[in-house]
């Protein structure tokens, strides 16, 4: 259900998904695949938002609970949850979200900057806000979604 908005040179496709009661979106170019939830193997000494690792066709894929990463209550995953497999630089990671909700086309002019009152966590991830049919969808960047190489407190 592509949402037709104006298309110009800067337009891009975004994939929107729900985490708790909020909606977020990321650039569709980052997404490698979307798959159902499978139980993850917990990693010792991992931050709380790293739920563990799963087997993605032979590769070991870390799963980030996006809710916890964004400071929301932890997801209690069921079979209806989905994992969005994204490519960040040379690594692939899985984002645990509630559901994929939409595919949008938006240009830079549609994206509004987030108000300055937001918390540091929001500032780290939210790159802009996108109003769509009376909903607010936060565009997030994924550069910092995995912990840095040194052990990071959750």
């Amino acid at each position: 259900m592509p949402n037709s908005m104006q298309t110009d040179a800067n337009s891009r496709e975004l994939i929107a998904f729900r985490v708790g009661r909020q909606e977020f979106c990321i650039n569709v170019m980052m997404v490698r695949e979307i798959r159902g939830w499978t139980a993850a193997t917990a990693l010792p000494r991992a931050p709380r938002y790293v739920r563990g690792v799963i087997n993605l066709r032979g590769a070991v894929l870390p799963i980030v609970d996006l809710a916890v990463r964004l400071g929301l209550p932890a997801t209690d995953p069921t079979e209806r949850n989905v994992i969005i497999v994204v490519q960040i630089a040379h690594q692939q990671i899985g984002l645990l979200v509630d559901a994929v909700s939409d595919i949008l086309t938006a240009s830079d002019s549609n994206i509004q900057t987030s108000p300055d009152v937001s918390s540091d966590l929001v500032k780290t991830f939210v790159k802009g806000l996108l109003p769509v049919d009376g909903r607010m969808i936060s565009l997030i960047g994924l550069d910092n979604v995995l912990p840095a190489s040194e052990l990071e407190a959750a």
Binding site: T38, A39, A40, T41, A42, L43, P44, R45, A46, P47, R48, V50, R51, G52, V53, I54, N55, R57, G58, A59, V60, L61, P62, D65, A74, Q91, Q92, I93, L146, P147, S149, L151, A153, A154
Partner: protein, 730 residues
């Protein structure tokens, strides 16, 4: 798109590596007297091709040196220069320099100019000596040269005549090759005269219709070089006997010169007489009777036309081996690895499918279950075959050792003979790459520390020349490498003394002979009374042991005073799979590398003693070993399990440090495919890698060393209880 020239250059260097190996192998065969007829040619060709390739890439230093080397080899080939031991020693050193030059050209950097210059000087000397030597009398020709050739001898400007003897074997015909086409192709190189030798054609009643009985004698007038002629026969060279005799004198004997409009016709001639001696006298070779010099190349020997002469057969056999060696392809390692990954995936999927089928309650005798069984069988076979692609003979590592031995022998002033066995033993490429360093070190150690000085050897009634033996073999799914020397063996009294001096053991420690021998693997231990620059400063065997342990291997030593020592290295055949013990700790499935496990035991409450608030020790055969709760150590839980309710695994980490790991249960032993955690995540403390189990879930492989180390620093354990995601319900 990458620079195509760079790719060609890379190929050139890869070929150089192979040619260097062939060069060295050939020279060593010549030195040992095991050289075959073809060896000297192979050696010459190796240097020649490197020179040619280097010329294309304007690697002038390499070209210049290869040229000088080639000149000397050519003299050996032609018999002008006898391959005496001193000459071969120069050749071997030249091969080393050539290898350095290739490396310098490949990776940048410089080579020891003085060494190169000194060798060039020696070569000049050798080459001059060869030239000034009194002409070696020619080998007696089988028949006097025909007058006709004689008469034309002075007419230099005429194009030269090649003599080719071509004897197809039945296989040539079986592969639908056509001699007429080959001869027609050959005729394009120049005028030629073809004679059919049908002397071996049997009577009709005994004739095998699919046999091969004919031989062609060809005289070809052409300026072409030998490779052009060989090129014609390129596709049949394994299926025929081919002798190519280089031209002596131009022109044809008067006779029926036959060249048709398309350059091809032939007539029957009576079978040729024995071929005349075909070269100018000073060029003729005479094997040096004082050495076991290789017999000059077959292609230059006047061989009687009889197709089954031993020399020809030798050549044919050689051609067959050459064909066997060249029947390979170069494949990018990434592609192979990708395939190994996919097959690993297939194995897991197959296991999952089996499990699902069983869960579905399908009868074992049903068609589905039987088909599945077949699938499983096939899958294992594919896995084995794919693993075999990465397997390579250890030859590539062994071939580097003779040079090392020469260098170390020269530095220490000892006479050393290296014997290698089992070069064909195959092992995974990654293992090969990583055993080179430990092996190098062990061989250095064997020469520097193991072998006595020449005087001492003679005193002890041993031959002056020490022997170092390097052996590779397969034993129970692992590769075993042995480095043994016939030196003095380990001086146990001194080793113990030294260990006490260095504070490694208590002065009153009671150690078995084996334990004393193993002291040399302790960090900071060096057995040489004086530190030499060869084996280094006590960073010896402990480093070897560490790198071997890192590969999942073990090292041990057996030594007999006065008779020598043997170091035995046992390594897994591949680093892609690992033998592991499947255990569970607080509901988590983990793999413990089997190589680290010494034994499993069930601790009794009366053997457990608290050392402090956190650490318990287990009394084990008179000693105390610290106990590590695996789940707690990884931060899976805060509560320590009661030792007597768990299973204990005695493990040995780096440096022989022992600990007892406590786990909930052992589920058995299996081979697991190692998967990287770093690829998509990062290194996890306490975890070496991951693997995928039969049910498709990821299991973690325990880093035993880290866990053991961690147990020793209490602080490491307290901060370890970082928040964990809730344990998933299985």
């Amino acid at each position: 798109m990458e620079d195509p020239m760079a790719a060609i250059r890379e190929t050139f260097f890869q070929e150089c590596e192979e040619q260097l190996a062939e060069l060295e192998a050939g020279l060593i065969a010549m030195e040992n007297g095991t050289a075959e007829v073809e060896t000297v040619n192979a050696v010459f060709r190796a240097v020649h091709s490197m020179k040619g390739g280097a010329g294309i890439f304007s690697l002038d230093a390499l070209v210049r040196f290869a040229h000088v080397f080639e000149t000397a080899l050519d003299k050996v080939r032609s018999g002008d220069l006898a391959a005496t031991p001193p000459v071969l020693a120069v050749f071997l050193r030249a091969a080393d320099v050539l290898a350095d030059l290739v490396r310098a050209a490949r990776e940048g950097g410089s080579v020891d100019e003085t060494r190169t210059a000194a060798l060039v000087e020696e070569f000049n000397h050798i080459n001059d000596a060869g030239a000034n030597a009194p002409p070696v009398p020619p080998a007696p020709a089988a028949a006097p040269p025909p007058e006709t050739t004689d008469g034309l001898f002075e007419d230099a400007p005429q194009p030269p005549v090649w003599k080719i003897v071509f004897t197809p074997r039945p296989e040539l015909y079986a592969k639908a090759n056509e001699t007429a086409l080959l001869l027609r192709e050959l005729s394009r190189l120049g005028e030629m005269r073809v004679t059919l030798d049908a002397a071996h054609l049997p009577d009709l009643n005994v004739l095998d219709p699919e046999g091969a009985y004919l031989t062609w004698h060809i005289e070809l007038v052409s300026d072409c070089d030998e490779s052009a002629i060989q090129h014609v026969f390129e596709f049949v060279e394994d299926d025929c006997t081919l002798e190519i005799t280089p031209p002596v004198a131009p022109g044809f004997a008067p006779g029926t010169v036959i060249t048709g409009d398309n350059g091809f016709k032939f007539e029957f001639f009576p079978p040729a007489e024995d071929e005349p001696e075909a070269e100018a006298a000073p060029e003729a070779r005479a094997p040096d009777p004082t050495t076991e010099a290789p017999v000059p190349a077959v292609k230059e020997i006047p061989v009687p036309a009889a197709p089954k002469s031993p020399a020809v057969e030798a050549m044919a056999a050689k051609a067959e081996t050459a064909a066997a060696v060249s029947a390979t392809i170069r494949v990018d390692l990434d592609r192979v690895d990708r395939m190994i990954d996919l097959v690993g995936e297939l194995v897991i999927n197959e296991a999952m499918l089996s499990q699902r089928v069983m869960e579905a309650g399908i009868n074992r005798a049903s068609g589905v279950a039987m088909a599945l069984e077949e699938l499983e069988h096939l899958t294992r076979e594919i896995q084995d075959s794919v693993m075999a692609i990465r397997a390579q003979p250890v030859r590539s590592v062994f071939q580097r050792m003779p040079r090392l031995v020469r260098e170390v022998a020269a530095q220490t002033g000892k006479q050393v003979r290296l014997i290698t066995e089992g070069e064909g033993t195959e092992v995974d490429k990654t293992v090969i790459e990583r055993i080179a360093d430990p092996l190098t070190h062990m061989i250095r150690n064997a020469i520097d520390h193991g072998l006595e000085s020449t005087e001492k050897r003679l005193e002890a009634g041993k031959p002056a020349e020490g022997t170092v033996k390097l052996t590779a073999l397969h034993r129970s799914g692992r590769i075993v490498l042995e480095v043994s020397d016939d030196g003095g063996g380990i001086n146990r009294a001194r080793v113990k003394q030294k260990a006490i001096e260095n504070g490694l053991i208590a002065p009153d420690a009671q150690l078995s002979e084996e334990e004393i021998d193993n002291l040399i693997f302790l960090p900071g231990f060096s057995t040489a009374a004086k530190v030499s620059d060869i084996s280094g400063r006590g960073v010896g065997m402990d480093v070897v042991k560490q790198s071997v342990t890192a590969l999942g291997g073990r090292i041990s030593i057996a030594s007999r005073p006065g008779r020598g020592s043997t170091f035995t290295l046992s390594l897994p055949l591949t680093l892609a799979v690992l033998d592991g013990m499947v255990i569970s700790a607080h509901g988590h499935t983990l793999i413990i590398p089997l190589g680290a496990i010494v034994e499993t035991l069930k601790p009794r409450a009366q053997d457990v003693f608290p050392l402090d608030r956190e650490i318990n020790v287990l009394a084990l055969r008179g000693g105390y070993v610290p106990m590590v709760d695996v789940a707690a150590s990884l931060g899976y839980c805060d509560q320590f399990v009661e030792p007597e309710q768990s299973v204990a695994l005695l493990v040995e980490g780096e440096g022989g440090v022992r600990a007892v790991l406590l786990v909930d249960a052992i589920h058995g032993q299996r081979q697991v495919v190692i998967k990287s955690l770093e690829a998509n995540y990062r290194a996890v403390p306490g975890i070496a890698a991951a693997t995928v189990m039969g049910d498709g879930r990821v299991a973690l492989i325990l880093d035993v060393d880290a866990v053991v180390r961690n147990a020793r620093s209490e602080a490491g354990r307290v901060e370890a209880r970082a928040d964990l995601p809730a344990l998933e319900a299985n």
